[in-house]
């Protein structure tokens, strides 16, 4: 028997080479195909994320789909539907005064959290589905010192790519308080057909309106109108002349004002003359406003390329009959999501959860209103929206913030359903985000926790359907259809709100490596292990029927008592 009491040099080398091979392999495994595991931790909380291709269908509509009337939303019906209110009010309450979560401290916290949302009636536009008021108004309520309400001209961002412009807006959104931000096109299907304002009992249409062309003073032209004029002049020139002109322009413009992908003069010099023959149209269409002005001057065109105040028809406004007019040029939606406190949601369905929800609404008002003002001061129009004007969940899905869950809520990778959503509709040119998939649909097919633990049984156990339980849910769009009437009755029974479906959702987990393992397995969309994961979630004591009243006792924010 040979003696070997320590690792030999050869053995050590074997181990080292194994480690050297394994480390990059494990790093790369997460980057295979469409998956992006390693770089997504901050944004996606550890999930393996797939971005959908442009032709992947996101929603399936029936032939009779119509825009949903916000008058029929449950938060509107409580203002006008006496029959429904009578039925809901007859619901038996299930709490006692001073039960945990219903104490004076809990209610006071709820009132404090709601203060901004309720201030000057802004709650009507944040939590409800009515007029844009207060912080969520169509016009700025106040202006910063030294900044008047007048049109200051649009932000000159020709030197930036559209991706960089979008990143600036996203950074501003996160700085102003959003937890997540995404951009998508305005999808008119998700625009409410009518708004309903309970406070003023107003119901009126929401319409996308035409924008009238604004006439500029003689001699001034908009950048878009200048392009055909310049193009016509360039077409009179041969390739060598166009090339020389372009080099001249590039050499005389401050490079920092050009887009980061603009060619250098030396690059243009190296391009054969033949490449400039007959390319005037394409050349002009890609030029920023600044370069257009210089070229016009070099060409001897007697025009001044001026910024255009798009005028009243390009601004969002209420018409005389109360119609909310959204100009057709406001075709982008910035979707903001706000994380709700984990410990607070654990206390669902008590007044503490209402505090968490109202805190979300207040943050929606602060950030949505502030972001809208930021965009207005860049010379673009902006409409900050809470729950009103367009349906939040599908907009958030289209903006790549998450997927739709069985409960009907947005399921985000990082926070699960524990978010509130606000939107800012704008005419600022921004780059869209791609919708994402990370296994929610597959998982929700197996998992029924929200449906099983919903006290009023408002969540469907069935497959997705085009139907709807009642007028408060839209039909002819394929989705897990919950019953808003039953949901509201649950709220009445709790004497507050609810939020149990948020609390018990297996996607609602704190950020931790422990849950990252599960996230990776769910993200793999295998389906076969989803039932096992749900059982493990149950066995681990997550998502119980009873609330977990940890908010005041946890050490988050501050340690209260020993």
């Amino acid at each position: 028997m040979s003696k070997q009491s320590k690792i030999s040099r050869r053995d050590f080398l074997k181990l080292s080479s194994l480690a050297a091979f394994a480390l990059p392999l494990t790093t790369k495994v997460g980057q295979l195909g469409n998956y992006d595991l390693i770089e997504s931790k901050e944004k996606f909380g550890g999930f393996t994320i797939k971005t959908l291709k442009d032709d992947d269908p996101l929603f399936e509509f029936g032939p009779n789909y119509t825009r949903f009337d916000a008058t029929n939303a449950i938060l509107s019906r409580v203002w006008w539907d006496d029959e429904f209110n009578e039925k809901a009010d007859a619901t038996e309450t299930v709490y006692e005064k001073n039960d945990p979560g219903y104490t004076q401290v809990d209610k006071a916290l709820s009132a404090g959290a709601a203060y901004v949302a309720m201030y000057e009636g802004t709650d009507s536009s944040i939590g409800y589905l009515g007029l844009h008021k207060g912080l969520m108004g169509l016009d700025p309520k106040v202006n910063a010192p030294g900044q008047g309400p007048s049109f200051d001209g649009r932000w000159e961002h020709d030197h930036l790519t559209s991706e960089e412009v979008t990143a600036i807006v996203k950074k501003a959104s996160l700085f102003l308080g959003a937890s997540m931000v995404g951009v998508t096109d305005m999808n008119e299907k998700w625009l409410y057909s009518h708004y309903y304002d309970g406070f003023s009992q107003t119901r009126a249409p929401i319409k996308v309106t035409k924008v009238e062309k604004v006439e500029l003073p003689e001699g001034q032209v908009s950048p878009e109108d200048a392009k055909p004029l310049i193009k016509a002049e360039l077409e009179k020139m041969d390739g060598q002349e166009v090339k020389d002109l372009l080099i001249d322009v590039l050499e005389n413009i401050d490079p920092s004002l050009l887009p980061s992908n603009a060619p250098s003069p030396s690059f243009v010099k190296a391009v054969p003359v033949s490449k400039f023959e007959g390319q005037a149209g394409q050349l002009v269409s890609n030029l920023p406003k600044l370069a257009l002005g210089v070229i016009a001057e070099k060409l001897g065109l007697d025009i001044e390329i001026a910024e255009v105040d798009p005028g009243e028809s390009a601004k969002p406004r209420y018409l005389e009959d109360g119609t909310l007019a959204i100009p057709e040029t406001m075709n982008k939606v910035i979707v903001l999501a706000f994380e709700e406190d984990y410990d607070g949601i654990e206390s669902a369905p008590t007044h503490l959860t209402v505090a968490i929800t109202q805190d979300g609404y207040s943050k929606m008002a602060i950030t949505g209103g502030s972001l809208a003002q930021f965009i207005r001061k860049l010379g673009y129009n902006a409409i900050p929206c809470g729950n009103n004007t367009n349906i939040s969940v599908p907009m958030a899905i289209e903006a790549g913030l998450g997927e739709n869950g069985r409960s009907g809520m947005l399921i985000t990778p990082k926070y699960g359903p524990r978010v509130r959503i606000a939107k800012v509709i704008t005419d600022m040119p921004l780059e869209n985000d791609k919708p994402i998939k990370f296994g929610v649909e597959e998982f929700c097919k197996s998992c029924m926790k929200c449906a099983e633990l919903c006290p009023s049984q408002a969540i469907s156990y069935e497959d997705k359907t085009m139907g709807s339980a009642n007028i408060s849910s839209n039909s002819d769009v394929l989705k897990w259809s919950s019953n808003p009437e039953k949901c509201w009755e649950g709220w009445v029974a709790n004497g507050s709100g609810c939020g149990i479906c948020i609390r018990v959702c297996p996607f609602n987990k704190p950020e931790s490596w422990l849950h990252d393992v599960t996230r990776i397995m769910i993200g793999a969309e295998s389906g076969s292990i989803d039932s096992l994961l749900v059982n493990l979630d149950d066995a681990g004591g997550y998502g119980k029927k009873e609330p977990n009243m940890v908010f005041w006792d946890s050490d988050k924010f501050i340690h209260i008592k020993d």
Binding site: M1, S2, K3, Q4, S8, D11, L514, L536
Partner: protein
């Protein structure tokens, strides 16, 4: 933080004790014996960190259930190491 330090110290001490034990008993250990032993210690760290993680998250039931499930695998691993790696040649 203290729990992580303790787990790290326990893991380090376990490895040193095993090396010392193998030396004293003059065991013939191939490279894959050491690999299995080190992986076993890493797995033990994983189990302990998992239990500590769930407790610190405020999920004691999850700590017990998940700790129990993964712990059983660790115990089996340890027994197999003892039976086939460290005990077999010590006789």
């Amino acid at each position: 933080m203290f729990a992580h330090l303790l787990i790290g110290a326990l893991a380090g001490a376990s490895l040193l004790l095993l090396v010392d034990y193998a030396r004293k008993k003059e065991l013939t250990l191939k490279w894959w014996h050491w690999l299995l032993t080190i992986l076993g210690i890493i797995y033990a760290i994983f189990v302990l960190e998992l239990i500590v993680g769930f407790f610190s998250e405020g999920a004691p039931q999850a700590a017990l259930v998940m700790g129990g499930m993964t712990g059983i695998v660790g115990v089996v691993w340890g027994v197999l190491l003892r039976r086939f790696v460290f005990a077999k040649q010590s006789a």
